[in-house]
Structure formats: structure tokens, C-alpha cells
């Protein structure tokens, strides 16, 4: 066991609280330790402390001795995600502009459910908890009808006393342009009902488009109670001697402090996946790869996101767990393909895989927990990719006979033998994932041949090389921390603060109004960072402008060189917009005669923090990789498709090791498949780099 270095005593801890497991990663700059504990959904903190105790043991320390040395404690949490998914948020009411009370209940787009019916939109605030009041602000921010505070108080009384709401949101048309009416409501409610949280859409997220701004305010009110577990954890960590204040990973892939998270809890909705992307970026950066697709394959889903130029692709408008919001976040797409995805035969007699998943219970047939349907995991066992005795580092034995039987049952419907059926399940799952990765890139006009893939999560390592070959991607990275990358991400992401302001003015309006807004935003974000305790030297703030051609829907974010906008800068911004637009949509699509509009300004503040690092090791140029045996693996269909491939164990490999496919690498709780024609080498940060053999 590696002892923590004595010269660098401070530690960085990252924790990712998942649905089943709570992962922890600890780094002292030269070494990394990791551990897992069962998640405790009823009391998040308990699982976190359990994980900390487990990892402290590896460091040879008590939990409090370890925590006393922690300089940074980062957490990715599903607390808010769960409140949204399980509909356990506060009973929330909405006060809005009269005549528009129905807008929120009318969702954006309906879902066609599996049974063929259109699903009515999920209702976080049913119609009876929405009250409209008189008062209008027009598009220039001028009041055209006054607000009647007594009417507002009447509405609040109805919502609180009759409807029993526990939290309120207020959002009026054009409130972001002039928040006076919403401010009046906030102060009236605070005076009359001090115990009821009240969220103003205009104050929370002042952007144009009433539906999504209102939705975000409502969601923020709804999850305001999801925070009790975090508060309790903060207390426990302090009791145990942890001096570092807790940092939480938000959906934007950066960290925020607990007070900021309490103000804006909905920002944590995609905390875990965003932490994974942050971890992936940290790994890719060490390997000097800046253009990549992150591929996170878990039990039920395959999550994909694109990083271009060392910067995760972001999304500012879109579906957040079924709700359409303007939340700025890392753009992650999830498709229903994971280790638990079930193979089935459709009405035409074709083999299909997913989106149904066996989940953790009953799980794949080979888990022996009563699952009978063949899953991707079962197929991998039958085909020889997964060693049933060595699953999860030997922590869980799989029953290969049950796996074979499940494939046999399905195969009878198809006229295929169990091995062919298993091959089909793997192949069709692979096609689906390749399609998702490829479309993620080409739909943005990006060339898959210029993008690497980075693989993490459960059984991703068995697929990613084949996905890369299917889409023409040259390189695959599999980090040493593949199975705990989200926890690592929580230990590495810097503080990130954002503020937005809707402008909706033509670029031709000139520098003065844009400069005014940009400087205000930059100052506010600077203050935010200061209040997070970030020293001036560690603070940096950039301002972006979301631009588009007038009347378009899609916007492009262009970075301003500084908030002090002048005429020359606007010219540069204009030409950069044309260049970017041409790059993305084809230069033939440019119509320079159409005015360019500045829709939104966004200030992004980064606060440098102490972060975990991947340990770097000396590269041995002449290291031979010793096999630890071989295994029979099906690499093609039909007779002759079964091949003996070399088996390697990660502990026998080190920086500089190079392995030619076909080979399997057992890397503790994940396995990496290196197909024929590809070579895997281990780089200085213990990352496996798979490339087509030259």
C-alpha cells in the first residue's frame, strides 16, 4: 500500500454519490487512492463518511486524521436529481401574469410513451397552484399596467392557506427587463410569509423567454428542500476535523460553495455526469488531447458529450430531466444502452437491444438474482469478454451458465444459437452507441476523424475501441480511474460562477449599452468569487455574448476580449461571429445583410482552487508487457470467430507498456478490449491510449 507523501501533506478529496455506490478518490499530488461504499439515499452524508473511512484505511489513517489534512473536499451529488426524478420536492405555487396562467402546464413537446399514447406533460406545479395577477411590463421595460400588492397578497394567501404550498415562484412577462414588479412581490411575501421561500425568475436567471425562465424559478423553488442532507454532511465533516469547506459540482462542470448551491440548487441537477466530464477533461488534458467525445457506459445508459478545444460543449436551452429550461450546463446526451440493456425480438422478428434495462435488480441473468432476459453483460460473458470469476475485480462472481441460458432462450425465437445471439446483442448495442457518438459530432458539423474517445463507467472499455473504428475516430483513452472518474472530477473542478443578462439588441446599437451590461456582470461575478473566498490572484472572469442573426433560434457564444467593449471590439466580435457561423453551418449559409443580434451576455468567473492531480510516473521506453494467460473470445461470427486472445492485468503493466490487439486488459473494476489491428500503450499518467497500429 502506498503511503501518503510526507512532503505534500495536503489532500484533495472527491466524492461522487451515485444511485448505488458512493465513490471516493483522494489525491496528494503524487498518489491517488480510491474506495467505494454503498450509497445511503435517506442520509447522503452517511455513505460519504463511510467512503471516507474506507479510503482513509488505505492511506493508513483514521478518518479524522485524513480529513484534518484535506485542503479540498469536492462532492458530486444526486440529491437534487433525485428530488426531481422521484417528485419529492416542495409543494410549489406560482404567481404569474394574468392571462398566461396556462403557459407553464403546456409543456414543450409531448412524449410518445411506450404504449403508443402521447404522454401529458409532467406537472411540477399543477394548474390550481398557479395564480395570475394584473400588471404588465412591456418589451422596453416600461410599466403599462401597475401591480396591485394587495392582489398579490390575496393570491399568496390562497396558495399558501388553501392550496398548502411550501414554496413560491414569481415570474412575470418581461420581468427580466424590469424586475420592479417581481421585487415588489418578493418583499410583500417575505414580510407576510417569512417562512416560505420565494424565487423570482427575473432575479434568479434574467434571460428572455418567459416559459423557460419561469420553469427554472419553479424548479429552483421545488428543490429548495433537497439540501438538508448536504447541510448535515457539512456539519459531520467539521466535527471530524475537516477544515476545507465543501465544494459541490454543478451542472456546468465547475464547483460552487454550499451557500451558492443553497441559493441555486437546481444548478446541481446534473452534478454527477458533469463531474464525469470534468474528470475526463482532466485526464485528456494530461494526455494532450483537447478534442474528444466522452463515453460513459453504466448499467442503464450511455452518456455522451463532446469536448472541443479543451472546452466541454455547453447547452443553454434544453430539456433537463423532462423540463425545458435555460440552465447553462455541460451538454450530455443519454441513450438507453448499458450493461443491463435487454435483448429482445421485435414484431418483425429482428433482434433489438434496449432501451429496457434489467437495472441492478434483477440485473443481468448472470447475476443469478432472478433475471431471465439476456442483457449486454450476459452477452459479454457468453462471448468471453467478461471473465465471470473476475467481475468487479473478483468481488462478484457471475454465472456463465445462466448467461448462456438466457441467450439460448432468446436465440430460439430467432433461430440462432446462444453464441450467435450473444454476438448479435453486442453488435446491435455497439451500432446504437456508435450512432449516438457519430451523430453527436456530425450534427455539430464536427469530423469524427479529428476526435478521440474517452471511455469510463462499467463496461465502456469493452466497446469504445470498436465504436472508434466504426466512426473513424483515431484514438481511445481509458483512464486508470475509469470506474471512479466522476469522483475524480469532483476533486479537480475549479470554482465556476456565472451570471447572465438578456440584452436582445442589435450589434449595431453600439458599444455603450453592451459595455455597461458587460462591466456590471463582470463586477458582480468578481464579487461572487470574492465571497466564495477566492483570492484576487486566483480569480479570472470572462464575458461571452450569445449572438445570432435576427429571428434565428440558435445562438453562438462569442467570447469578448474584455468587458470594456468599444467599437473596434464590436467589429472583431462581428467578424468572429461570421467566421464561427460559417465554420459551423457552412460559409454558403451566411447572409451578411441580416442584422446580428446580441441576445445574452454571460460572465463566467473561474476561481482557481487546490485540485487533485493524476500521479505522473516515469515512462519506461522498453517495458515488455507480460501476459497473464489467455482467454477464448468471440471476435467474429460463425466458425473460426473464436480466438484465443492474450490477457493482461493492469498491475503488470506500467507507463510505456505496449500491447497489440487482440487482447483483453483486466483493469481492476473494468476491462479493456483491444481489437486486432489496434495497439494499447500506457502513458505517463497510467492512461491507456488505444490507436490503430501503424
Amino acid at each position: 500500500m502506498t503511503k501518503p507523501s510526507r512532503t505534500k501533506p495536503s489532500l484533495c478529496v472527491g466524492v461522487d454519490v451515485g444511485g448505488t455506490f458512493t465513490d471516493v478518490v483522494v489525491s496528494d499530488g503524487s498518489n491517488v487512492w480510491r474506495a467505494k461504499a454503498l450509497s445511503t439515499p435517506d442520509d447522503v452524508g452517511r455513505g460519504v463518511i463511510d467512503a471516507c473511512m474506507a479510503v482513509a484505511q488505505q492511506l493508513g489513517l483514521s478518518a479524522s486524521a485524513m480529513l484534518a489534512r484535506v485542503e479540498r473536499f469536492g462532492l458530486g451529488t444526486t440529491a437534487v436529481t433525485n428530488a426531481l426524478a422521484a417528485h419529492t420536492g416542495l409543494r410549489t405555487g406560482l404567481i404569474t401574469t394574468r392571462g398566461f396562467e396556462d403557459i407553464l402546464p403546456l409543456s414543450r413537446g409531448q412524449l410518445v410513451r411506450e404504449d403508443g399514447w402521447l404522454a401529458p406533460p409532467a406537472q411540477i406545479v399543477p394548474r390550481e397552484r398557479i395564480v395570475g395577477v394584473a400588471g404588465r411590463i412591456d418589451r422596453d421595460g416600461a410599466e403599462t399596467e401597475p401591480l396591485d400588492v394587495d392582489e398579490v397578497l390575496g393570491a399568496a394567501a390562497h396558495l399558501i392557506e388553501v392550496e398548502g404550498v411550501e414554496a413560491l415562484a414569481v415570474s412575470f412577462l418581461w420581468g427580466f427587463r424590469n424586475p420592479a414588479h417581481e421585487d415588489l412581490v418578493l418583499s410583500a411575501i417575505e414580510a407576510a410569509y417569512p417562512g416560505i421561500p420565494c424565487i423570482s425568475g427575473a432575479r434568479l436567471y434574467p434571460v428572455i423567454r418567459e416559459y423557460e425562465r419561469t420553469m427554472l424559478a419553479v424548479l429552483n423553488a421545488y428543490v429548495a428542500g433537497a439540501f438538508t442532507g448536504i447541510d448535515a454532511l457539512t456539519g459531520r465533516l467539521q466535527e471530524l476535523g475537516c477544515k476545507a469547506s465543501l465544494l459541490l459540482v454543478h451542472s456546468g462542470g465547475g464547483s460552487i460553495t454550499v451557500p451558492e448551491a443553497r441559493r441555486f440548487p437546481i444548478g446541481l441537477a446534473e452534478s454527477g455526469p458533469a463531474a464525469g466530464v470534468a474528470g475526463a477533461l482532466a485526464v485528456a488534458t494530461t494526455s494532450n488531447v483537447g478534442d474528444l467525445v466522452t463515453c460513459d457506459m453504466g448499467g442503464t445508459s450511455f452518456d455522451v458529450s463532446v469536448i472541443s478545444g479543451w472546452s466541454p460543449t455547453r447547452q443553454t436551452r434544453g430539456d433537463l430531466m423532462g423540463y425545458w429550461t435555460p440552465l447553462s450546463r455541460v451538454d450530455i446526451e443519454s441513450i438507453g444502452a448499458g450493461g443491463g440493456s435487454i435483448g429482445w425480438v421485435d414484431a418483425r422478428g429482428m433482434l433489438r437491444v434496449g432501451p429496457h434495462s434489467a437495472g441492478a435488480v434483477p440485473g443481468p441473468a448472470c447475476y443469478g438474482r432472478g433475471g431471465e432476459a439476456p442483457t449486454v453483460t450476459d452477452a459479454l460473458v457468453v462471448l468471453g469478454y467478461i471473465d465471470p470469476s473476475g467481475f468487479l475485480g473478483g468481488g462478484m462472481a457471475l454465472d456463465s451458465e445462466l448467461a448462456t441460458r438466457s441467450c439460448d432462450l432468446l436465440g430460439r425465437l430467432l433461430g440462432l444459437d446462444p453464441e450467435e445471439t450473444a454476438w448479435g446483442i453486442r453488435q446491435i448495442a455497439l451500432e446504437g452507441m456508435a450512432r449516438a457518438v457519430r451523430s453527436r459530432l456530425v450534427n455539430r458539423g464536427l469530423d469524427p476523424r479529428q476526435y478521440a474517445l474517452i471511455s469510463y463507467g462499467g463496461c465502456g472499455g469493452l466497446f469504445t475501441a470498436d465504436i472508434a473504428r466504426l466512426i473513424g475516430s483515431p484514438t481511445v483513452l481509458v483512464p486508470a480511474l475509469a470506474s471512479v472518474l466522476s469522483a475524480f472530477g469532483a476533486a479537480t473542478s475549479d470554482i465556476r460562477r456565472e451570471r447572465v443578462c438578456s440584452l436582445a439588441v442589435p450589434l449595431s446599437v453600439g458599444p455603450a449599452p453592451i459595455r455597461g451590461a458587460a462591466e456590471d456582470l463582470a463586477t458582480q461575478v468578481e464579487d461572487d468569487l470574492a465571497s466564495d473566498g477566492i483570492a484576487a490572484a486566483d480569480r479570472s472572469v470572462v464575458v461571452e455574448a450569445d449572438l445570432r442573426f435576427t429571428n434565428q433560434v440558435a445562438e453562438l457564444a462569442i467570447r469578448l476580449p474584455s468587458p470594456s467593449v468599444d467599437a473596434a471590439m464590436l467589429d472583431r466580435v462581428q467578424s468572429e461571429f461570421f467566421t464561427e457561423y460559417g465554420k459551423r453551418y457552412g460559409s454558403g449559409s451566411l447572409m451578411r445583410s441580416v442584422p446580428t443580434e446580441v441576445v445574452t451576455l454571460r460572465a463566467i468567473g473561474t476561481g482557481r482552487t487546490t485540485t487533485a492531480r493524476l500521479p505522473q510516473r516515469r515512462l519506461s521506453t522498453n517495458r515488455t508487457a507480460a501476459t497473464s494467460g489467455s482467454r477464448s473470445v468471440r471476435v467474429a461470427r460463425g466458425a473460426g470467430g473464436l480466438e484465443k486472445v492474450d490477457l493482461y492485468v493492469v498491475d503488470d503493466l506500467g507507463p510505456g507498456s505496449s500491447i497489440s490487439g487482440p487482447a483483453l486488459i483486466d483493469a481492476h473494476d473494468t476491462t479493456i478490449w483491444v481489437p486486432a489491428g489496434m495497439t494499447a500503450r500506457v502513458d505517463r499518467w497510467s492512461t491507456f491510449v488505444l490507436e490503430v497500429t501503424r
Partner: protein, 742 residues
């Protein structure tokens, strides 16, 4: 239509794995082509309205799969490619790209929906076609935007383009581009959008050619044929579970105050569906005329959605289906009939009438799983959009679409209330985006005063319809705004099902500054709304499902609580009585409902063929009941009401013959329409409710073969069991009465 070919294919090469992989790659490719359009087109109707599609077809123009957002286009694409093949035959060469838009000679859904088609070659072998379509904002003609309700001939509507080459062997045919550019408004934008379709075609060509080459062109073709056949085989199997017989429905398109009769007879025969529109009104000099392939496209989309939501939408869905539309009628017009609303007016009435025939068939089919999808009429077939023009002080013109009028509320269905604003402008399963009020007010010189789910009962039933959109707008900073209504279903509402009442119709109003309001016709143009005035659209809804007097009283109370209806509606329409508070008084409600049922029976006409006790006694009524229609069952040669056991008819008479009939006029101005309900003669419960122009007979007929073939033994007074029905059938081709136009 194309019949399936028997598969003489090298089956050994393919199996359920390889075919599924192939399907995945074909679909991924066409989605990539579609995303190319979205990225490279520039007009808001494409980038924002998402009115575009990409379709992949085999070498002969058979539909493989599609991408993009408008499924309605896909079958039109198949038609376009077949028309191009028919015109150019062997002269089609690698690198050719064709353009067509004219429905009379091979275009898309209407003149605006241009079809850019590229044959995909491997070497000199044509292996497939890509056909891409998007809605050009303008295609020339007498008005900006090219929707011209005043047009009487297709020549006035815009540039008519038969299949012509945009590229010949990869070389641009500049003459054609010049011709197009010269004849359309917004020419730069139009050209860019056209080029985006060409770009998407190139993506499809490159990817498909590589795939076909890697598989070998023979195997590629064989694999596709097997994919299509696997879908057709399953489709035939599902049709085979529908009860054989003849099912008829009739409905009417409207123009001004005229009705145009559109009857459909569906024959279900084994594994085939034949929809026959014989008896349809002759074509008329209005832009609503349609074409067979457009109705087939709408019908295929709806049927696919009911019978095969899990199957790939492909040729296989269309193979077992046939349409018969007599030429020279509004459902199969010929030039010079104007056709620029060919997809949104007559077509919607026609295909939905065909879908009603299928619903009648499914209702009588105990074995068909699709019977679970019984609903009232699809609300996507009502629409009330309007386009508006403003000119500001500096002379700047704005043209914009009030698409919220297309957001009708869906019909109720088995066990489910309809959904508010649930139906799209085009296509049943993709609702086009909602406009943000702040964006709308920022872009256009208008103020929005109100936008809500339409108040009032809409389509009532045990399961009610959703509500359409109710929106009020007015000019801001301009003297006035001028509108053109593109509405249908102003007078005749969409029907419900199973005794649910028909829905609300589209209504357009101008509110004057003095507080008075004026109705606007659904096809009016030059509608002027002055500063200080307001325009209101109340969009339609589908109908309810089941008798409204059977609606759960607590659900009615919830609708009151949600302010969808008021207590007066609750009592008069649903018979729900409230005591204090929000909970219904169940005892008083039962009493009130009893009175309402009795009142219905009191006001209704007696059955046209009452049955005596002796009639019933002599008939064997053993055996399991078979469903006839929701609430109606067949036992041997007798049709009963399911809830009361009342005998309704003896085969082969129509089951409604024993119903009491309540006919109530629609209480409003305009051409008279009646709501007619067929009641259980014992309880007064509604079994089928129809809206028809006054004077029209029953608008539907359900004749499963197992019913019409029942032979009833000769009885003592000499009446034979096989006798011609005296009841009036729909779709019999007899001339309509009253104010109908036929």
C-alpha cells in the same frame, strides 16, 4: 400503388442481426442528411419551424426510412421519386440532382414543399434515392408566402416545377437555378434553402454508396427488400386481425359556408385494406384541392401510428393498403385545380374520414390489439393558423405566422382525457414548437394580451377532449395589421367516439375598441385589425370519448377547480351538482343525471326499426358477445347495448336502427349543423354522436362480414332474415341535401 414482390432473395446472407444492423445504419444516414438541412438552411420556417425532412428510397422509389421532423413528407417523397423515374427512365445518371414541387406532375405536399432528389449510384448501378424536402417561404405566385386562398387556378399559386435537373452529372444546371431565382420572392433565402437540400443529398449519396459498396450492391438491395418485406409481413398479419367487412364514414370540407362531401368506404378483406373515396365532391376553384398520394401519406401516417407504432415507418406499411380516389374530385384533382393547401385542408378531412372507417373496424375486432387506441377524431386535422402582415412608419414590412391557431386539443380516448394544445401543424406525432411570447413581441409589432387553454367544455365525454389554444393579440407601434386566415373546421366539429360529444370548432374574432366583437371567416383574407383593436383565435378540439353523463364526478370537480369549466357547465353538460366546497354532491349528481337521461329520451325520436319482444325471443342469443362498437355487442344475429341489454338491431340491419335518436341544432350563426346522438333506448345513454350538416343522414356505417352474413330464420309473418337494410348508409353516393355543395 406498389405491390410487394415475392422475395426471391438470397435469404441465407441475412438474419435478424445483419438486418437490424443495416436498418440502424440506413436510419443513421438519413438522419445525418436531415441534420445537414437544419445546419445549412437559413429560413426560420426550417431552422425554427422544423418544416423539413429527408427520405431514403430504394432504386425504384420504394420508401426505406426517413428523418427530419415531418413524417407527412416521406410518402410524398416516394411519389416524387417515382414520378421522376417515370419521366426520365434510363436517362437518370450518376451525379444528377432533380427538383420538383408541382403536385400535379410529381412534387411534394404543396408548391412550397420542394423535393430535391438524388439517385445514389455505386459505379453505374443505381442503388437508392435520397429525397429531401423543406418548406420554402415563398415560391412565387400572386401573394407573398404563396398561400393564396383567392387563387382559382394552379397557375396563380406559384412556380410549378415538374421534375427537372438542378445538376446533371454533378454539373450545376444554371439555367434552372436562374429560372427558379427569377420567379420567387426572397430569392436569396430560397436559394440557400434549396442548396441545403442539395447538401443533404450529397451526404446521403456518400454514406449510402460506401455502405452499399462494402456490402455489395446485390446484397444491399436484397437486404433492403427483406427489411421492407419483414415490415409488410407484420403489417399484413395485424390487418388480418381486423374483422373483415365494410366500414363507411362521410365528412365534409368547408369553404366559406359551403360543404364539400367526402365519403370513404373501407373494405377489410383478409390482409388488405382498401379505402374508396368514390362519391367525393368534384374539384373546386379553391386551393384546398388535394391529390391521392397526399391523402395516402396522411392516412399512412395515422394508420402507422395506430396499427404499427413499433414498426419502422416504411414501404411495408403502405404495401397492404390501397386507395381509390376518382379523378377530378377534391381528393384527386387535376390541373388547373389550385392545390397549394393540398396537404392541410381537404386532405386532412379525407384522411381522417378514412381513419374513422378504420376505427369502426377496430371497434368491431376483438382480436386486434390496436383497438386499445380508439379515440375521437384526430385534432391535428383541424387547424386555424393565420398569417399577418404589418408595415411600420419607415415602410418596413413584416410577415409572420400565428401558428398557435393550429394547436387544437386532442380528442379523448379509451380511459384517457385529451391533452391541451397537443396537435401539430403537420404530422400527428410531432407538435411544432411553441412560440415564446417575449420572442414574438420582440420580433414583431404586436402585443399578446392572453394565451391560454381555451375555456369551456370543448369535446365533452366520459373522457373529455383537451382544449385548443385561445390567444389574443393586437398591433403595437403600427397603424394596423392585415391577416389571412388558413382555417378549416369553422362549422363542422370533429367527432368524438363511443358516445362522446363532438369538439369545439375554430373561431376567429376581431374585438373592436368599443367592446363589440366581429367574427371572421375561416378562409377570409384582408382581415384588418386597427391599433387599439384585438384579434382572437380560439382553436378547435377533438371530441370526447363515452357519454359525458358517465364522467367521474370527481374528475368533473377537478376540471372546475382547474377553471376549465364552470359549475353551470358541470351541471348542464355533465350533470354534476355541487353542495358546498369543491367536492361534488354524489347523491344530487345521480339524481340530476337520471333527469338528464330521461330528458334525452323524452326529446328523442323513436327508433326507425323498433323491435318487438317476439322478434327477440325467436333469436338464438347464445355464445360469447363480440364487440361491435364501444357499448354495443353482437350475440349471433342480434346487436345489444352492453350496459342495459337493450336489443338494438337484428342482422343485417345497422346497429343504430334500434336506437332512439336525439337531434340538436348547433346553436350559432352560419350554415346549419346538427349534433345527432344515437341513444340506448332504455337508459338514454349516448352510443355514437355525430355532427353533420342539417338534413344529412347518418354519417357512418359499420358492417363486419360476420354481422351482414348472419342468416335469421324465416318467421311466421314472412319476414326474411336477409333483407335489404332500410337504414340510410353513408358513402352511398347519393346527393347531399340542404346547403351542401354537391
Amino acid at each position: 400503388m406498389t405491390k410487394h414482390k415475392s422475395a426471391t432473395l438470397p435469404r441465407a446472407t441475412f438474419d435478424p442481426i445483419a438486418l437490424e444492423v443495416l436498418r440502424n445504419r440506413l436510419e443513421a444516414t438519413i438522419e445525418e442528411a436531415a441534420s445537414t438541412i437544419q445546419r445549412t438552411a437559413i429560413s426560420p420556417v426550417v431552422t425554427e419551424g422544423l418544416d423539413f425532412s429527408a427520405t431514403l428510397l430504394d432504386a425504384d422509389g420504394r420508401l426505406i426510412c426517413g428523418g427530419g421532423f415531418v413524417k407527412y413528407h416521406w410518402w410524398a417523397a416516394a411519389h416524387a421519386v417515382k414520378s421522376t423515374i417515370a419521366r426520365y427512365g434510363d436517362a437518370i445518371a450518376p451525379g444528377d440532382v432533380f427538383l420538383a414541387n408541382d403536385p400535379h406532375t410529381g412534387g411534394g405536399l404543396h408548391l412550397g414543399d420542394v423535393m430535391v432528389q438524388r439517385p445514389i449510384f455505386v459505379g453505374n448501378k443505381r442503388v437508392a434515392w435520397a429525397a429531401l424536402s423543406s418548406h420554402l417561404m415563398d415560391i412565387g405566385g400572386m401573394v407573398p408566402g404563396s398561400f393564396a386562398p383567392a387563387a382559382t387556378e394552379c397557375f396563380q399559386e406559384g412556380l410549378r416545377i415538374p421534375p427537372v435537373r438542378l445538376f446533371r452529372a454533378d454539373v450545376e444546371v444554371t439555367d434552372v437555378w436562374d429560372l427558379v431565382r427569377t420567379n420567387i420572392r426572397l430569392a436569396t433565402q430560397g436559394e440557400m434553402d434549396l442548396r441545403s437540400l442539395v447538401a443533404g443529398c450529397h451526404v446521403a449519396q456518400e454514406r449510402i454508396a460506401v455502405l452499399a459498396e462494402s456490402m455489395g450492391v446485390e446484397d444491399f438491395a436484397a437486404g433492403i427488400a427483406m427489411l421492407l418485406e419483414s415490415c409488410a409481413t407484420e403489417m399484413r398479419r395485424r390487418i388480418g386481425m381486423i374483422a373483415d367487412g365494410t366500414y363507411e364514414a362521410v365528412n365534409w370540407a368547408e369553404w366559406g359556408e359551403e360543404f364539400f362531401r367526402i365519403p370513404c368506404t373501407l373494405v377489410v378483406d383478409g390482409e388488405r385494406l382498401v379505402f374508396d373515396y368514390t362519391g367525393t365532391a368534384p374539384q373546386a376553384p379553391h386551393f384546398f384541392n388535394s391529390k391521392l398520394y397526399i391523402i395516402e401519406s396522411g392516412l399512412g401516417q395515422s394508420i402507422g401510428w395506430m396499427l404499427a407504432p413499433d414498426l419502422p415507418f416504411s414501404q411495408g406499411l403502405f404495401d397492404p393498403m390501397e386507395l381509390r380516389c376518382p379523378e377530378g374530385t377534391v381528393v384527386s384533382s387535376i390541373a388547373p385545380a389550385p392545390v397549394n393547401a393540398a396537404h392541410i385542408h381537404v386532405a386532412k378531412v379525407a384522411y381522417e374520414t378514412g381513419v374513422e372507417c378504420l376505427r369502426l373496424a377496430l371497434a368491431a375486432s376483438p382480436d386486434a390489439p390496436a383497438r386499445q387506441y380508439l379515440t375521437g377524431w384526430q385534432a391535428g386535422t383541424a387547424m386555424g393558423v393565420s398569417t399577418w402582415t404589418t408595415v411600420d412608419g419607415s415602410g418596413k414590412q413584416e410577415v409572420f405566422l400565428l401558428q398557435e391557431g393550429a394547436k387544437s386539443g386532442s380528442s379523448g380516448g379509451v380511459g384517457k382525457d385529451g391533452i391541451d394544445l397537443a396537435w401539430s401543424l403537420i404530422g400527428a406525432d410531432f407538435p411544432t414548437g411553441f412560440t415564446d411570447i417575449e420572442m414574438w413581441e420582440a420580433w414583431y409589432p404586436v402585443t399578446v394580451f392572453e394565451k391560454r387553454s381555451r375555456l369551456g367544455p370543448n369535446g365533452t365525454g366520459e373522457f373529455r377532449s383537451g382544449a385548443g389554444c385561445q390567444m389574443v393579440v393586437g398591433p403595437r407601434g403600427v397603424d394596423h395589421m392585415t391577416g389571412m386566415m388558413l382555417g378549416i373546421r369553422r362549422w363542422l366539429p370533429l367527432n368524438g367516439a363511443a358516445g362522446g360529444w363532438p369538439g369545439a370548432t375554430n373561431e376567429f374574432l376581431v374585438h373592436h375598441a368599443d367592446g363589440t366583437a366581429e367574427e371572421v371567416g375561416a378562409q377570409d383574407f384582408d382581415v384588418v385589425v386597427q391599433a387599439g383593436e384585438r384579434f382572437e383565435v380560439r382553436s378547435a378540439s377533438g371530441g370526447g370519448f363515452g357519454d359525458p353523463l358517465n364522467r367521474d364526478a370527481h374528475q368533473v370537480a377537478r376540471d372546475v377547480e382547474h377553471r376549465r369549466i364552470d359549475r353551470a357547465d358541470a351541471e348542464s353538460v355533465y350533470g354534476v351538482v355541487f353542495a358546498d366546497g369543491v367536492e361534488p354532491d354524489l347523491a344530487a349528481t345521480a339524481e340530476r343525471r337520471h333527469e338528464l337521461f330521461a330528458d334525452r329520451l323524452h326529446r328523442s325520436q323513436p327508433p326507425i326499426r323498433p323491435l318487438s319482444a317476439t322478434d327477440i325471443k325467436r333469436l338464438a342469443t347464445e355464445g360469447d358477445p363480440l364487440p361491435f362498437y364501444p357499448g354495443v355487442v353482437q350475440r349471433g344475429p342480434v346487436a345489444f347495448s352492453d350496459s342495459t341489454g337493450a336489443v338494438l338491431a337484428i342482422a343485417p340491419d345497422h346497429w343504430t336502427d334500434g336506437c332512439r335518436v336525439l337531434e340538436e341544432p348547433c346553436d350559432r350563426e352560419g350554415p346549419p349543423v346538427v349534433i345527432r346522438s344515437y341513444l340506448d333506448p332504455v337508459s338514454g345513454r349516448s352510443l355514437y354522436v355525430e355532427a353533420v350538416p342539417a338534413g344529412e343522414p347518418r354519417s357512418f356505417r359499420s358492417s363486419p362480414r360476420r354481422w351482414t352474413r348472419q342468416v335469421v330464420a324465416q318467421d311466421t309473418d314472412g319476414r326474411s332474415g336477409r333483407r335489404p337494410s332500410r337504414s340510410r348508409a353513408a358513402g352511398s353516393g347519393r346527393a347531399a341535401k340542404g346547403r351542401t355543395a354537391v
